[in-house]
Every structure is written in structure tokens, then in C-alpha cells.
């Protein structure tokens, strides 16, 4: 029996910008097992959400994750609108999709840059982040902030995209396509990137189905899922686009899927602004006076995969229960498949390949008594408690189907 060495990455490691602890158990260079610890980022958002009004919750869910700060409000809006039972106006749909796709572009660019950084290809990092800036400028022009856009509300959006702003968007998209060509060329033709990513961190189709992985991680392994097409919302059924998939399942396939997705996003945005131009300005919100009792589920395709929000309303002005599942929660579990058996150097890029976002994924794993410091509840007891509460809620009739 050989001895295993423990190599910790984190919780505050220069490689990651978020606090997270990975423990790699290695035999020589080879990773034999991997464990991870979360909790450094836990903020108790689901609980906080119960103390805020529906209008305020949008600002809260936006701050679950800064990178996909539209996908959470998107899913939450879908959930609440299901409870209310309204259909938003077409103009709102287009505006929502534009914001969602702009976000996908900036998030994928960010990831391509970070992936380059992990591979030691810092030029790519600098390039990708430079080309991301014009997208953030667009956000600043449309919403007033570079990140955390505060665009959504129940039944509509908070700001219009006036016709005067459309030429600027069109111009950035045209430039963006050129830059994407350049980036794609740099990545697809680079022999070093090929050597470092092809055949590394392979996830088979079966692995994806077993772990329930979503988003580009699943699509790179040939699993053709995308909430935008499978459970249509906003303007996605109104425009032409296609779901990008690849078959190989390795890191290279994930890079490829993300790069090609950005072209699709650009084309969605262009179609949306064309449609906006033909409409009357200002028709961007429905008046909704109260949220009735009920249960709503909302889904949205974030840059990393499916975001799921479940909202129980008891007729008051804040949610009675708000459950959130972010894509990284299932994607991170695939590390067990993708990293074991790799060398340490390849394990880091395999970790980064699913574009993990830990601030979305945080869960409480144990509860401690404040004064004595003793553990009072462990993970399985917490799950039991949560199930009990759900069944109580069901009995009390909060939201009948």
C-alpha cells in the first residue's frame, strides 16, 4: 500500500478568487481522491429572503452570485409570475433576454480568461478580460451599473432600452464577433492548449446523467439540454438560435461549447434589438398589486446551467419559503469523476472546467450552539428538519396547486 499525501487547495488560495477548500489525496503526482469543504461563503440567503418583500428579494437574489446576477432574478421572476399567473409584455421579454445573453457573453469570456490563467497562458487571460469590458460598458449604459443590474421586477423590468441606445449595442456586438473570431482562433489552433486540455478531465454522457450535471458541462458531453429551449421563457421562443453541443466531454470540448455559445448569444441579442426597434417604447411593466397564495417554480438557463427557484407564497408580501438551486451545486459533484486519476496539474484545470461558482452553492452542513460550541444538528438531521417543514407547509395549505 502506498501512502497518500494530502494537498490542500484553499480556503484562501491565490488560484481561486472565492474561499473554498479542496483536499486532493495524492499518490505521487496522481490524484487518488478528492474532498471539498464549503461554508466560507454561507450567508443564509434563503432565510433572509423570507424577511424581505418581493421587491426587495430581487436585490437579494441578484447578490447570490455576482457573475450570473441576472439568472437568479430571472428564475425568481419566472417563479413569482407563475404564482400570479401573468404573461409579461413582449417588450419586457426581449429586454430580459438581452440582459440574460449579455451576461452569458461576459461570464463565458471571464471563464475563458480564467481557464487560460489556470493553464499558465496569461495572455489569454488578459485578452479575454479586455474584450469583456465593452460588454460591461453596455451594462453600465443600460442599467447604470457594471454588475448587479437591478433590472427585474415582478411583471416587468425596471428600465427600458430606448431606441437611442440600440446603435451602441449593435456596434459592440459587431466588434465582439471580430474579437470572438480572434479568441476562438487563438484557442482552437494553439498546440499547447490542445495538449493541456484534450483528453483531460473527461466526463462521459453516463457520468453527466448520474450526477445530474447541467449547462455547458452537460452539453460538452453530448447531453443536449438547455432550459431556454426545453422550458421556454422570455423571448427565447421568439428568436432563432441553436443549442451548442460537443461530444468529447473533456476540457477542450467545454471550451469549445462556451466559445460557440457566445456567437449564439450575440445573434440572439441582435435579433432582440431588431425586434425592439419596431416596438413602441415604454411598455415594460405590468401593474401587479398583490401576490396570491400559491406555489411557483421558475427556471432559467444561467451561463453555468439551470437555475431553479421554488417559491411558496402565503398571500403576504414576502415569500413563506424560497428554495434555490444553482447549477454549480450539481456540477461540482462531477469532480469525483473528472479529477481522480489525473495528475495534480491537470486536476486544477478539470476543477475549473465546470466553471464552478461557490457563492451559489453554499449550504449549511451543521449547526452549532453559540454559547457552548457544541454541534447540535448534523447534515442529515438538518435535511430531516427541512423535509418536516415542507410537509407542515403543505398541510397548512400554504399554496395549493
Amino acid at each position: 500500500m502506498s501512502r497518500k499525501t494530502l494537498i490542500p487547495i484553499g480556503p484562501y488560495h491565490p488560484l481561486q478568487e472565492e474561499p473554498e477548500l479542496f483536499k486532493l489525496y495524492c499518490d505521487g503526482e496522481i490524484v487518488m481522491d478528492i474532498k471539498w469543504e464549503t461554508g466560507y461563503n454561507h450567508r443564509g440567503i434563503e432565510k433572509l429572503s423570507e424577511s424581505k418583500s418581493y421587491d426587495q428579494v430581487f436585490f437579494l437574489v441578484e447578490r447570490i452570485c455576482g457573475i450570473c446576477s441576472t439568472s437568479h432574478p430571472f428564475a425568481f421572476a419566472n417563479a413569482v409570475e407563475e404564482i400570479v399567473g401573468v404573461e409579461i409584455t413582449d417588450r419586457t421579454k426581449y429586454i430580459r433576454s438581452i440582459i440574460g445573453e449579455l451576461e452569458r457573453i461576459h461570464s463565458h469570456l471571464l471563464w475563458v480568461g480564467l481557464a487560460g490563467h489556470f493553464l499558465g497562458y496569461n495572455t489569454l487571460f488578459m485578452w479575454a478580460w479586455k474584450y469583456r469590458e465593452p460588454v460591461l460598458d453596455l451594462f453600465e449604459m443600460i442599467t447604470g451599473n457594471r454588475n448587479s443590474y437591478a433590472m427585474f421586477k415582478v411583471g416587468g423590468v425596471r428600465r427600458d432600452i430606448e431606441n437611442s441606445k440600440i446603435p451602441a449595442i449593435r456596434k459592440v456586438m459587431a466588434v465582439m464577433r471580430k474579437k470572438l473570431d480572434l479568441l476562438t482562433g487563438a484557442v482552437m489552433d494553439d498546440p499547447v492548449i490542445h495538449a493541456r486540455t484534450k483528453g483531460v478531465g473527461i466526463l462521459t454522457r453516463q457520468d453527466i446523467l448520474d450526477y445530474g450535471a447541467v449547462g455547458p458541462t452537460a452539453r460538452a458531453s453530448g447531453v443536449d439540454i438547455d432550459v431556454r429551449r426545453d422550458d421556454p421563457y422570455a423571448a427565447y421562443p421568439l428568436v432563432n438560435w441553436k443549442v451548442i453541443t460537443a461530444q468529447a466531454g473533456d476540457v477542450f470540448a467545454k471550451v469549445e461549447v462556451r466559445l460557440l455559445e457566445m456567437y449564439e448569444s450575440a445573434s440572439i441579442i441582435e435579433q432582440c434589438i431588431d425586434a425592439l426597434e419596431k416596438m413602441k417604447e415604454g411598455d415594460i411593466a405590468l401593474k401587479i398589486n398583490e401576490i396570491p397564495q400559491g406555489i411557483g417554480t421558475g427556471r432559467a438557463e444561467a451561463p453555468r446551467g439551470e437555475v431553479f427557484h421554488f417559491v411558496v407564497s402565503d398571500g403576504s408580501n414576502s415569500p413563506a419559503r424560497h428554495k434555490i438551486r444553482a447549477p454549480s451545486y450539481t456540477n461540482i459533484a462531477t469532480f469525483k469523476k473528472s479529477c481522480i486519476g489525473q495528475t495534480i496539474a491537470d486536476a486544477t484545470i478539470s476543477l475549473a472546467a465546470v466553471d464552478p461558482c461557490y457563492c451559489c452553492t453554499e449550504r449549511m452542513a451543521a449547526a452549532y450552539d453559540n454559547s457552548s460550541g457544541k454541534k447540535i444538528l448534523n447534515a442529515s438531521e438538518l435535511i430531516e428538519l427541512s423535509m418536516k417543514r415542507t410537509s407542515e407547509l403543505r398541510k397548512s395549505g400554504a399554496g395549493h396547486e
Binding site: E17, G39, G44, F59, R63, G66
Partner: protein
Amino acid sequence: MGFKDYCLRKSLWVFHFGGASCNNCDIEILDCLTPRYDLERFGILLVGSIRHADVLLVNGSINRRDKDRLLELYHQAPKPLLVVAIGACGCTGGIFAEGITFAGPVDKIIPVDAYIPGCPPKPEAIIAGIVKLAGKK
């Protein structure tokens, strides 16, 4: 002005501690290093160990799990150390201040020299804050 303070006026080396944040402040800090903002022209460099750092950037609300680690980092750092709290979360706890795991804004845990508010603060604001801090020494 002592010799150590004199040294702090140029080439600040920065260590970044991300608490329980939403990631946006972290990204904007990284953004400062990329071509458009290029912090390195001021000699400011992000380093991998607190033992090499002159400045500790803290963003995000601090939860119970982060608190002890932040204290430990502070004690490990060579002094004088400038501490900068970034974002609404770093300054006050922001939207998460009422959360069940919140353990106090940064200045309840370690002394803070500068606050950069915003949610997230723009890279320009972060740069302006740090440069001002360096100029004051």
C-alpha cells in the same frame, strides 16, 4: 514619517481576502489588474501570501467561519499593514448584515484604514481608494 511608512508610499503589494461575498467585488478587484485598468502601473501587485503583503483587501460580509481565519491572517501579516474594506458588504455587511451566519463587518474584527463603498465599487473607485491611501502615508 518613519522609514516603514516611507516604504509604503510606493509599490504596494496587495493580498485579497474574499469573505462571504457575492463574488462581484472579487471580480472587480481582479478586473483592476487587467489591461483597461492595469493597476501594476502604480507598482501595485496581487500576491499569493499575506506574509508578502503591505495591504489587505477584504471584501464580502464576514461569516462565522471566515472570522477566525481573517483574524489569523491579520496576525500573520507583517506590520505596518493597511486594511481596506471593499464594497457595501465589507464596510457594513450590506444586504447580508441580517443573515444568520453574519459575524460582524470587517471593522468589528480588525482595524480598517479605508472604506471603499459601492456594490460593487467600480475598478476606478478601488484604484482611487488605494492610491489615496498610499498618498496619505
